[in-house]
């Protein structure tokens, strides 16, 4: 048994142990915790496409929605309180992931000869098409949204999926086989000249990322117990892109931290907005969390243009300079 | 015309230049030679302002230019043909040449100057309307030099102009460098791997090694120097 797998098992074990005590966690913080987990899955998986393979996708929420709806339909068709809840849930998640992966294949295949912004608009368009379809298909609730009567997503399942996602993405990339993703990002022409099938890698990245986005969607659906096509619009995709870029493209630990930060931030700003010591004059300004959020986002990008956790950003330099001056 | 004093440049943690001094007298051709990574390109980049110097002074025509923005330096008549050509791939050959004349206001004179350049590089005339990105490597090099000449510089800095150029044309280019130096009175600072030729046409030479000037002398003398002979002239 070697190191990576040990880590995987240990983290799954940790998730299981913690999940035994999840009842003791304040439900609000628990909600945030699960959301963090879902966002990590989304960010890390998109990072495979955008960060490691260099393909700009604006449709990740689309894959997420496919997973959410597919898994919800499984749960609904099996019946709410059937026995073997966990097994059904695993099945539902897998169906969600696989449907999303299939969608990833469908989009990835034909559209990957497009580059840069053209690819971005096609992925965005694709996600919008999915959204419109969900919005109009009565069987999945159309514009009413879809309620899922069970609440199966818990700490264990979420962080099991987080661990799996990180494992797959990190160890896939960190192998000779996985260097292919990076070469495609750096220079496609040179990659092909070195015998690397760029298209295969791009499609693979799309499919794997879509699979995990689908899982994330399934977790989301079975946690919030209500899904609505509006929740998977392009702004949601943009949120995920922000996580990836803030974390530093192709920097998985950075992306994880960015996911945590960007999930907590709006809630933190919510708390700030209801802080009673706030002067009345600026209260309305603070209460619109998105104003502060956007300013923070801009500030972060200015201070850490390479992402939060790479060296060489202005903040690092500034800190270093500060130290130098002190010394 | 150009005096570089105690120039220091670093890229992050790497120090590329450890305080070098170079003089380029008016109307002369000066050559800078050195091994790969010695800092030749860095020197030129620092002079033209695209890389910031950490320390030192660069005086052009009696004026300190070390803190000026690149476009201002160009405006003073100092033109840099960078390594890697940096032609505008999305523009046509003609537009590239006109870009060279961006800061000039004497539009009437453009025609004559273009003819002069087409005379040196007939290939460019053939490819006038082609988009510059599809030119062959050598054609791009010609375009880069032609574009620089269009700015009517008083001082021209060339970074490896013979790189990737066919032998016959290398000779032509060096002849033309001498020609513009003589006829148009353009001062030239030349960086070259082809040290033989470069020292042949220049009056003065500097040898750069890992960011320091290790030798400087009249070109004729440098060509006889055993160390230079061994390392840079191919024995």
């Amino acid at each position: 048994m070697n190191r990576p797998k040990t880590w995987l098992l240990l983290s799954i074990l940790a998730a299981w142990v913690i999940s035994r005590f999840q009842g003791a966690i304040n439900p609000y913080y628990y909600d945030i915790l699960i959301t963090i987990g879902i966002n990590i899955i989304l960010g890390v998986s998109l990072n495979l496409v955008t960060g490691y393979t260099g393909q700009f996708s604006l449709g990740h929420a689309g894959f997420m929605s496919v997973g959410a709806y597919a898994s919800a339909m499984v749960t609904l068709s099996v019946g709410a309180h059937a026995r073997g809840e966990s097994l059904i849930f695993i099945g539902a998640l897998l169906v969600g992931g696989l449907s999303a992966a299939l969608a990833g294949l469908l989009v990835g295949g034909p559209s990957l000869r497009l580059k840069g912004d053209y690819l971005a608009i096609v992925t965005l368009g694709f996600a919008e098409i999915i959204r419109v379809v969900f919005e109009n298909v009565e069987a999945v609730g159309a514009a009413r949204g879809l309620s899922i009567p069970v609440h199966t997503t818990d700490f264990f399942w979420t962080f099991l999926s987080v661990a799996l996602t990180i494992y797959v993405v990190v160890f896939l990339v960190h192998s000779t086989y996985g260097r292919g993703f990076l070469t495609v990002r750096d220079d496609e022409v040179a990659a092909e000249a070195m015998g690397i099938n760029a298209t295969k890698y791009k499609v693979l990245a799309f499919v794997v990322a879509a699979f995990f986005a689908g899982i994330a969607g399934g977790l989301y659906a079975h946690f919030k117990q209500f899904i609505h096509p509006e929740g998977f619009g392009y702004l949601r995709s943009v949120d995920i892109v922000v996580i990836v870029i803030l974390g530093g493209m192709g920097n998985t630990p950075g992306v994880i931290i960015a996911a945590v930060l960007l999930t907590i931030l709006p809630e933190g700003l919510r708390a700030l907005g209801s802080w009673s010591a706030l002067p009345e004059a600026i209260r309305p300004l603070i209460q619109n969390r998105m104003i502060l959020y956007s300013l923070l986002l801009i500030a972060l990008m200015l201070l850490r243009p390479q992402g939060l956790f790479s060296t060489g950003g202005r903040l690092t330099k500034w800190l270093k300079r500060g130290k130098g001056a002190a010394a | 015309m150009l005096q570089i004093r105690d120039l220091h440049v670093n890229y992050g943690a790497i120090t590329a230049l450890h305080g070098i001094n170079i003089d380029v007298p008016k109307g002369s051709i000066v050559t800078l030679i050195g091994a790969n990574g010695a800092g030749k390109s860095t020197t030129l980049r620092a002079v033209s302002g695209i890389t910031r110097a950490q320390k030192g002074s660069i005086v052009f025509d009696g004026e300190e230019i070390v803190h000026l923005a690149p476009h201002k330096i160009v405006g003073r008549g100092l033109c840099h043909v960078p390594e890697g050509r940096m032609i505008f791939a999305n523009l046509s050959v003609m537009e590239n040449l006109l870009m060279g004349a961006y800061r000039r206001n004497d539009r009437k004179a453009f025609g004559g100057d273009l003819d002069y350049i087409f005379d040196i590089f007939p290939r460019l005339k053939e490819r006038k309307a082609q988009s510059a990105g599809t030119l062959s490597g050598g054609e791009q090099q010609m375009l880069a030099i032609g574009r620089a000449l269009m700015s009517k510089p008083r001082c021209l800095m060339l970074d490896e102009p013979s790189l990737g150029i066919a032998p016959l044309l290398v000779k032509t280019i060096f002849e033309k460098i001498v020609e513009v130096n003589k006829n148009l009175g353009i001062t030239v600072l030349l960086v070259e791997q082809n040290a033989n030729l470069a020292l042949e046409i220049s009056q003065f030479g500097y040898v750069l090694e890992t960011g320091r000037i290790i030798l400087s002398d009249a070109s004729a003398k440098l060509r006889e120097d055993p160390q230079v002979k061994e390392c840079y002239l191919g024995g």
Binding site: T50, F56, P110, S111, R113, L114, K115, D117, Y118, A120, I121, V122, L124, G125, F126, E128, I129, V132, V133, N136, V189, Y234, V238, V241, V242, I245, L246, L285, N288, M290, I291, S294, L295, L297, I298, M301, L302, P305 | S48, I50, A69, P70, H71, V74, G75, H80, P82, M86, F88, A89, N90, L91, L98, M99, G100, Y102, R103, S131, G133, S151
Partner: protein
Amino acid sequence: MIQFLQQLINGLALGSIYALIALGYTMVYGVLKFINFAHGDIYMVGAFVGLYVTPWVWKVIPPGQDPSKFNWNTTAGGLVVMLISMVVCAVLGILIERLVYRPLRNRPRLTVLITAIGVSIFLENFGQYLFGADPKSFPDILPDRTIDIGDLSIFMNQIVVFVTTIVLLVALRYIVMKTRMGTAMRALSYNTTAASLMGINNDVIIAFTFGLGSALAAAAGILNAINYPSIDPLMGILPGIKAFVAAVLGGIGNLPGAVVGGLLLGVLETMVVGYISPMYRDAIAFAALIFILLFRPNGLFGKIEKEKV
């Protein structure tokens, strides 16, 4: 047949609004190679500036009494409002560039993109804070007339938008392709270092590009508000996306492409609504876009520039 023609007119009118926004989008993209996500929000600001300056302008140039009759005063006032709004937005655009984009100039494009998204969220939400969330009624700053040809109805405003789009296209194309400034813009779009070695002051050109792009957005905002006189702080989101689509459809960075893309999108959407189902309007528009891109990966007018290896 009449109905079809009417739908075609409707489509062209809608499309010319998309085209107008897409023009600014594509121009900024063409030079800086980055999607200015905040473009749609500048468009919103343009409309609001129009809303707030109109009473002042009207104080100086009182408009005609009957808004449905042509009136020189009204027209002149409308133009002044538009100009003011364009100038204000140009300044805003330059300011944004100076404050947030310039420090990131040599950074990866996606970094700048996120910053642009930040700016976009900021403008939307600060707009809601400043202007209030509910829609505002936009005054009739141009004479509002309907021209009936048989059973066909064409509105003055639609013609104004269409003509403005075409005029701006021609003017922009002239600036970009024929003037020194324009060539500098294109040179800079390829390589900023080389451009500065040509003596181009990159800062000036980029600021100019942003100013011009923002002014175009403001013009679009005003013209759109005249056509659809209900404006709100989030009004830029949807047209922003549509204009992005239009620009890509035509080949992003390509000015005529943006106009053709916009018109095409407008007509397509209108026809889908009129003859198929409004429910699938966006889906079909995107499907068409994807379809076209599969055959022309660089949009309708984008040059298929194979990289020289």
